[in-house]
């Protein structure tokens, strides 16, 4: 590596001495590229410098593909093309215009030869270009790359670039690299100042470098003789470590909340059917599975609009699962009101039928549901803390569903009727509420929400016939923990269980954490059989 940085440094010195090339910017055209096909390697070298000097947007891809051996000349018309290997041969695009030129065979292309000195020249040029690239992310990546292996030369190059750097994030990264280099110098004042800069960095390289100052040699003396520097380094390491653990804590909380949101989504439908109606629906997990499969089918139907598919899938899954739920209620459950144990068994039977139905229709294998573009990737807050978008969106989605449901129950006529029937069925009927109709709709609502939860789950786990089973026990635990018939209880229950689970995991491993949570819940129910927020008043007796 070292010689690259040296070359880069020399090049910087060279270009700093010369006139800025922008004054006499030659155009990047076929004529500028032509010498690349020459047999003379010196001429090629000069051509590379000339191309780099143009500052054209195509320079980076052209030089990159030249280095990677993907730049060719087409034999027919001597056009320079960038080729990517494919089944048929090579897919080529014009190097200068990015125009797609279709697919050709290997014999239609002329390879452009390189030797080792040209390769190192190319690497140097590419590094410099990326450091002065107009794209902030390319510059940042180049600087961070240099942080891993700082040398005198790179530092000098960065010092030169820092003066023109406008972006504060890149400038900070550059200062960190310079400070890392200063730390190795002789002047204690400069070194202390460097430590002062480094303490705000979160990069593991910086921490390792600072910790190295505190190490002892085998005979018990410190490797670093200066006591002041050691003290400063110690404080800086402590500062960095406290920050790292703070972010680790934040990350755990976030993971916990995202797990809690999944639990909330899967339990909230249950909180309606079990909590409000008092119906044990063991098929709830399978309704979630139906929602996930609906997403899969929607994506099959609109393969070219994956980004939009989720927006279609949410209402579709709500409808599918809701209708199936209403069918279950009208077909089976309404004959079993007031007999909870029988309801439990009958709905379990339904869950088996639904599972097998899915297995027969879609095969027992897991189906893959693709993630839309806007949900992949992560939000990089700093070097050690990032939030993945899919989890972030699921937290948001769970909150939206929760608030929506809360409003529906508190503010609408249907919600009023649902609460009336759940509190006192016969009184509600006397007041003219069609309780049968309300029952069916309430059950449909709870089931529909299960379907919506399934859409969210399809983005996190495998979509298969057993998807529901793995969530049903957790969901029941959440509802029972939070207190039956209380949406807020479900919310608090889900979130706290999620966070507790994630905090236990590092100590005990995922499976044991789950077991511990289950054991805790079993003990908790003994202590407070009606959950965190028990229902009060007459409704309890019902």
């Amino acid at each position: 590596m070292r010689y690259i940085w040296t070359a880069l440094f020399l090049l910087f010195i060279g270009s700093a001495g010369a006139d800025e090339p922008s004054a006499t910017n030659p155009a990047l055209d076929a004529a500028a590229l032509a010498p690349l096909a020459s047999d003379d390697f010196d001429e090629k070298g000069r051509a590379i410098d000339a191309i780099a000097a143009t500052g054209d947007a195509h320079v980076l891809p052209i030089l990159r593909s030249l280095l990677d051996g993907q730049l060719f000349q087409r034999k027919d018309d001597d056009r320079f093309v960038i080729a990517a290997e494919s089944d048929a041969g090579y897919d080529i695009t014009d190097a200068l215009t990015s125009e797609n030129l279709g697919s050709v065979g290997k014999r239609d292309l002329r390879k452009l030869g390189l030797n080792n000195s040209l390769r190192s020249q190319l690497e140097t040029v590419l590094a410099r270009l990326s450091l002065t690239s107009p794209d902030t992310s390319i510059r940042l990546a180049a600087v961070n790359n240099m942080l891993k292996n700082p040398t005198e030369d790179t530092t000098a190059a960065i010092r030169a670039a820092l003066a023109n750097e406008k972006d504060s994030a890149v400038a900070d990264a550059m200062r960190t690299v310079i400070a890392m280099s200063d730390l190795g110098g002789g002047d204690p004042v400069v070194r202390l100042a460097a430590i002062d800069i480094l303490r705000d960095s979160l990069s593991p390289d910086v921490k390792n470098r600072l910790s190295a100052l505190l190490e002892k040699t085998s005979d018990g003396t410190f490797t670093e003789p200066d006591e002041n520097i050691r003290g400063a380094a110690e404080r800086a390491v402590a500062h960095i470590e406290s920050k790292v653990s703070l972010y680790g804590f934040a990350e755990n909380v976030f993971f916990g909340l995202s797990l809690g949101s999944v639990l909330l989504l899967s339990a909230i439908g249950l909180a309606i059917t079990f909590g409000v109606m008092g119906v044990i629906n063991m098929a709830h997990g399978e309704l979630m599975m139906l929602g996930a499969y609906t997403t899969y089918v929607i994506q099959l139907l609109m393969p070219n609009h994956i980004d939009a598919s989720l927006f279609v899938a949410v209402p579709a899954a709500f409808l599918v699962a809701g209708l199936v739920g209403i069918a279950i209620e009208r077909g089976v459950i309404r004959y079993l009101y007031g007999r909870p144990l029988e309801t439990l068994l009958a709905t379990f039977g339904i869950s088996l039928i639904l599972q097998q139905a899915v297995r027969s229709i879609f095969s027992p294998l897991n189906r893959s549901v693709s993630t839309p573009e806007w949900m992949s990737g992560s939000w990089q807050i700093n070097e050690i803390f990032s939030l993945t978008y899919n989890r972030l969106y699921i937290v948001l989605f769970a909150l939206i569903v929760f608030v929506g449901l809360l409003l529906l129950l508190k503010k609408t006529r249907l919600g009023l009727q649902v609460r009336a029937v759940s509190q006192n069925r016969s009184m509600a009927r006397t007041m003219g509420v069609r309780s049968n109709w309300v029952d069916a709709l309430t059950f449909g609502l709870g089931s529909g929400i299960a379907g919506v939860a399934g859409v969210a789950l399809s983005q996190l786990t495998n979509v298969g016939p057993n998807l529901g089973q793995s969530y049903i026990i957790d969901s029941f635990m959440v509802v029972v923990f939070g207190g039956v018939g209380n949406l807020w209880g479900t919310f608090v229950g889900a979130m706290s269980l999620g966070v507790v689970n994630k905090f236990l995991e590092p100590f005990s491993g995922a499976v044991l954490a789950k077991i511990l949570v289950l054991v805790f819940l079993i003990l908790f129910i003994q202590k407070r059989p009606r959950g965190l927020f028990p229902q009060k008043g007459r409704a309890v007796e019902g």
Partner: protein
């Protein structure tokens, strides 16, 4: 009235015990004495299969005792069954000795494989048959006692109890899947060689275990019948029908429930212990909540609170399962699911209830009178 009155008045029980005795006599004879060429010969596969059903029937009996008579719908009875099975499996594992793949005289194969140096403390004693047999009832019994003590004392009832029993067996399943637990992890315990020096593969041993299972079922039935006909049984039934009222009359409801729950768990443990040598494997899958809930269906199909109904249900459903999973594997879950729905909606008293209804229609007034 003498002390055997409880069994004299039990007509369904007479039929059941008679059939059981006949099977116990006929099956070993057909398997061991009749030559293999004869059409009447029973293969060891059939003997094992019926033996398995007998164990399931005992398990169903245990559940019927708590569910049918005490109203406790346990969705975790499979856990007690599996624990009994594991106790037996640990004994059989120790019997392998140095005949395992790795030939280690002290450690079972999976421990050698996991680089364990010595036997964990909870494996000590399992090389003695008597100790393992004590554990078969003590381990499930203790778990049921501890669990029930907490649950009943804090008055967790109805569906809440069902759900936490399900969580219990689910948690146990996750735990036993872990290799670190020292119970063979995913693969469980298997590759058994012999029991008390008798080769497990031989027809004679199989027939013996078969007879033992039948005896256990018969004795279990008589014990359960005795319990439900005793005063204790009547109190338990009263708890099922009106728990608060029984409590107000002055009975210690929690103690009765705890007693019956623990006894039932012990029966389930025995069933598991007899099951393992016949199928030759025990693994964490036995803890899966699905198993426990399937067991509930056996009882529901047969007819709750009859005891012999549970046995009938266990045989019918399991025979159907054996048949369907071989002939039409796709249909089995549909059939099982439909069974759940049909039984709960149309046959609340199960097959026994159906039989009785048919009898009443045909004009057996004495039965109808007895019912009302």
């Amino acid at each position: 009235m003498n002390s055997l009155a409880f069994i004299r008045s039990d007509r369904g029980g007479h039929i059941f015990l008679g059939l059981l005795a006949a099977v116990t006599l006929v099956v070993p004879v057909l398997s061991l004495m009749v030559p293999e060429t004869s059409a009447l010969h029973l293969s060891s596969y059939t003997v094992t299969l019926v033996g398995k059903y007998l164990c399931f029937a005992l398990l169903a009996l245990a559940l019927d005792l708590v569910w049918g008579y005490c109203g406790i719908l346990s969705l975790g009875h499979g856990a007690f069954f599996a624990l009994g099975g594991y106790a037996m499996g640990m004994y059989l594992m120790r019997q392998i000795g140095d005949r395992g793949v790795y030939g280690n005289p002290e450690l079972p194969d999976f421990m050698v494989f996991l680089n364990w140096k010595e036997l964990p403390w909870y494996w000590f004693g399992f090389d003695h048959f008597w100790f393992a047999m004590v554990m078969v009832v003590v381990v499930p019994g203790l778990l049921a006692f501890a669990f029930g003590w907490f649950a009943f004392r804090s008055r967790v009832t109805g569906v809440y109890l069902s759900i936490i029993t399900q969580a219990l067996t689910f948690a146990l399943m996750l735990a036993f899947f872990r290799n670190e637990m020292g119970f063979g992890g995913n693969n469980g315990l298997t590759d058994f060689k012999d029991i008390l020096g008798f080769n497990l593969q031989s027809d004679a041993t199989r027939a013996t275990i078969f007879v033992l299972s039948a005896l256990a079922l018969g004795l279990g039935y008589i014990a359960c019948r005795y319990i439900v006909s005793s005063k204790l049984g009547r109190v338990v039934t009263a708890i099922r029908d009106a728990e608060s009222r029984t409590r107000f009359i002055g009975y210690q409801v929690d103690n009765y429930k705890l007693w019956i729950f623990t006894f039932s768990a012990m029966l389930a443990g025995i069933a598991g212990a007899l099951y393992v040598p016949q199928v030759g494997i025990i693994n964490p899958g036995e803890f899966s909540p699905l198993n426990s809930i399937e067991l509930v269906v056996w009882v529901a199909v047969g007819g709750r609170a009859t005891l012999y109904g549970a046995v009938l249900g266990a045989f019918t459903v399991n025979y159907a399962k054996t048949y369907f999973t071989a002939a039409l594997p796709d249909v089995w879950l549909f059939a099982l699911g439909a069974l759940f729905v049909i039984v709960t909606m149309f046959l609340p008293r199960g097959l026994i209830g159906l039989l009785e209804r048919i009898k009443v229609r045909r004009g057996a007034p004495q039965l109808a009178e007895r019912k009302s």
